[in-house]
Amino acid sequence: MILALIVGVLFAGAVYLMLQRDRLRVILGFVLLGHACNLLIFSAGGTARREEPLGSNPDPSITADPLPQAFVLTAIVIAFAITVYLLVLAVTGSRAEDVEEELAPDGSSPAAVGTLPDRYDAFGESAGTTDPHSPGDGPWTDDSTSAVIAAPTGESGRVEQTGGGDR
């Protein structure tokens, strides 16, 4: 019964999070969904009527079913790999994704400096305040200051210059 309730709560939470607009919340929703599903597999093994396989000569009819556990292990690995990939996808690309046709032909290389502000934009406004780099930390510090993040994507070259001037 407890297992069923947990599965239900996890599914509900997953659905709630997945219906949010923020990408990170969606991914967290998928994490919850994976957990809910794993517990569902566990419950399929009949946890209520089975016990731990301890003792010298355990009776296979009442000891825990190993097959769902093997299923869960496999499912965890797969879900983990895809979640990591989803996180990577969430931080690549830019907020201006709907206008890729406009962005593409301007000839500006999306490598290095140009994409860096976008990368922080992926987590919404909070990225500006919770800056992972303290100033003077490394070569990327100039770009991760809030001034650059506030700047529009197309003008990243100009902003990069002013950032350098500040220093």
């Binding site: 599903c37 597999i41 419950s43 895809i82 996808l89």
Partner: protein, 524 residues
């Protein structure tokens, strides 16, 4: 070593080769050679399996030598052997295309394509529902990588957005499928297809659990009302990859639907009407979605949705003839759709866009691609002598015989709209090939709208015109057009030799209609 014990090699071989090629720092001659060797080898092995199973035999191997029911079985019957052959051939042809364009030059193409093939082969061969989930994931994971391989800068951002949609959708559906497998295990106590045979007929709880699996697979196959992702995700990657995955992913899901419904439900007649309703809607809504599209690949993707309705109608009829027609349609469709994606992909690789409005006036004579596209489009619409006619005619006949007159009428109407849509692409892209070059003044957007063929301008001006607006590009070379031509030729051959196609499909359908041979082989 017998044929049975060699079955796991269909999965192991490409994975080992992928592991080897993944070490290469860049694309080298040996990685490409290994890739082609493995793909040719698997294709040849699949043909051998078709020959071996064409008398209705079912071969099975219990991995690791465990007792049947405990071991994971690898099973091959005529249906899976045919699917292995067509998918293997498609991967080979698409690789031929990809190696000529940017996509195949990436060093990750070879390992990813081989793992993809391993997943496809595994999903087609396995006789265990959980294992099927695992192999579908093995098939999907390299695809996520392939989707962002588009090395052209223009494509990268779009392909990231498309990947996000594709990955999240597939993760959701896979989780749903996994939940279905869990419920199946909870209600039936096994996930072995041999032991599950007929379980859904006896126990409604098993039927409900298996239904979750089937609905998840239908979502993977882009059945209406959950078809929108396909039309948005497929056109976002590079053309070579669209062609590659179009023939594989949804089709593996369709294969799984055929297999699970035949084995677990034993073609239970109580639920067939759900399939007929859903798949008729898929036919109609898919084709209507294509009407308003301007991008070639979007049009083709919507047609794919519509054609998936046709293919699955075969399993929803569940008569011997209906299954035969459905399987024939599936094989025909995989070939033809890949051919269409490859011929439009060749255009897109050369001109950088697949929007009909942008292509208008820029394309010169393209006799090879026009031939390939025209033949494949005729086949898709179901015009003799192509394979589409054989498949569609038998499917509609089977639908009439089963008494679903409305579904048959919808299938006929959809054929007409399909033809209209194909003509739209053909007119937009290949009309210069047929009618000669039009005056480019209408097509030219802003800049140098000089009438290129007629104007005998000075040398400098001409070169500038040629450089800035390629008004008279040369036709696509044979090598780039050959994959599409090859598949169109296969479609023609299957159409002319329709008897052979149908008799092979009939053997496959017989194994689905009467699963006793399959079950016996899995549990032997």
């Amino acid at each position: 070593m017998t044929v049975e014990t060699a079955l796991p090699l269909m999965v192991a071989l490409p994975i080992i080769a992928a592991g080897l090629t993944a070490f290469a720092r860049r694309r080298r001659w040996w990685t490409t050679t290994l890739l082609l060797l493995v793909q040719v080898g698997l294709f040849a092995a699949a043909i051998a399996l078709v020959v071996r199973t064409s008398d209705g035999d079912v071969l099975a191997h219990q991995v690791g030598g465990w007792i049947p029911g405990v071991a994971i079985p690898f099973v091959v019957d005529a249906f899976s052997a045919l699917m292995l052959t067509v998918s293997g051939g498609l991967i080979l042809v698409c690789t031929m295309f990809a190696l000529q364009v940017e996509t195949g030059r990436n060093r990750f193409y070879a390992p990813l394509a081989m793992v993809l093939q391993a997943g496809v082969n595994g999903a087609l061969l396995t006789g265990d529902v959980f294992n099927m989930f695992v192999f579908i994931e093995v098939m999907l994971l390299p695809t996520y990588g392939l989707l962002v391989l588009a090395a052209r800068r223009r494509g990268t951002r779009a392909s990231v957005v498309g990947s996000r949609l594709y990955v999240t959708y597939n993760l959701f559906v896979s989780t749903l499928f996994l939940a279905g497998v869990a419920m199946l295990y909870g209600t039936a106590g096994t996930v072995n297809l041999g032991e599950l045979a007929g379980a859904a007929v006896e126990d409604p709880w098993v039927a409900a659990a298996a239904a979750v699996c089937l609905f998840a697979l239908s979502m993977k196959a882009a059945v209406v009302p959950v078809h929108g992702w396909l039309a948005r995700a497929y056109p976002s990657t590079s053309p070579a990859i669209t062609a590659l995955i179009s023939g594989l992913h949804t089709k593996v899901a369709i294969y799984a639907i055929y297999r699970l419904y035949a084995v677990i439900f034993e073609g239970d007649e109580r639920f067939l009407w759900i399939g007929v309703v859903l798949f008729s809607a898929t036919m109609l809504i898919g084709v209507l979605g294509a009407v308003g599209e301007d991008r070639m690949r979007s049009i083709l993707a919507f047609h794919m949705v519509s054609q998936i309705g046709y293919i699955l109608l075969g399993v929803a009829l569940f008569t011997p003839f209906g299954l035969t027609a459905g399987i024939a349609y599936l094989l025909h469709h995989m070939i033809v759709k890949a051919s269409l994606f490859l011929s439009t992909g060749a255009i897109e690789e050369r001109f950088g866009t697949d929007r009909l409005s942008e292509l208008k006036g820029r394309i010169g004579k393209e006799p090879l691609l026009a031939l390939a596209f025209g033949a494949a489009a005729m086949s898709l619409a179901g015009i003799p002598p192509m394979s589409g006619f054989v498949a569609k005619f038998s499917l509609i006949t089977a639908t009439f015989q089963a008494g679903w007159i409305i579904a048959a009428v919808i299938a006929l109407i959809v054929s007409l709209i399909t033809l209209q849509s194909m003509l739209k692409i053909f007119n937009g892209v290949f009309s210069p090939t047929i009618k000669g070059h039009p005056a480019p003044s209408g097509g030219g957007t802003a800049g140098p709208a000089t009438p290129a063929p007629g104007a005998g301008t000075a040398g400098g001006a001409t070169t500038e015109v040629l450089a800035s607006a390629p008004a008279l590009p040369r036709p696509t070379r044979l090598a780039l057009a050959s994959p599409a031509l090859l598949l169109a030729a296969v479609s023609l051959m299957l159409g002319l030799g329709g008897e052979g196609l149908l008799s092979l499909a009939e053997t496959a359908a017989a194994n689905l209609y009467d699963t006793s041979g399959y079950v016996e082989a899995v549990l032997r």
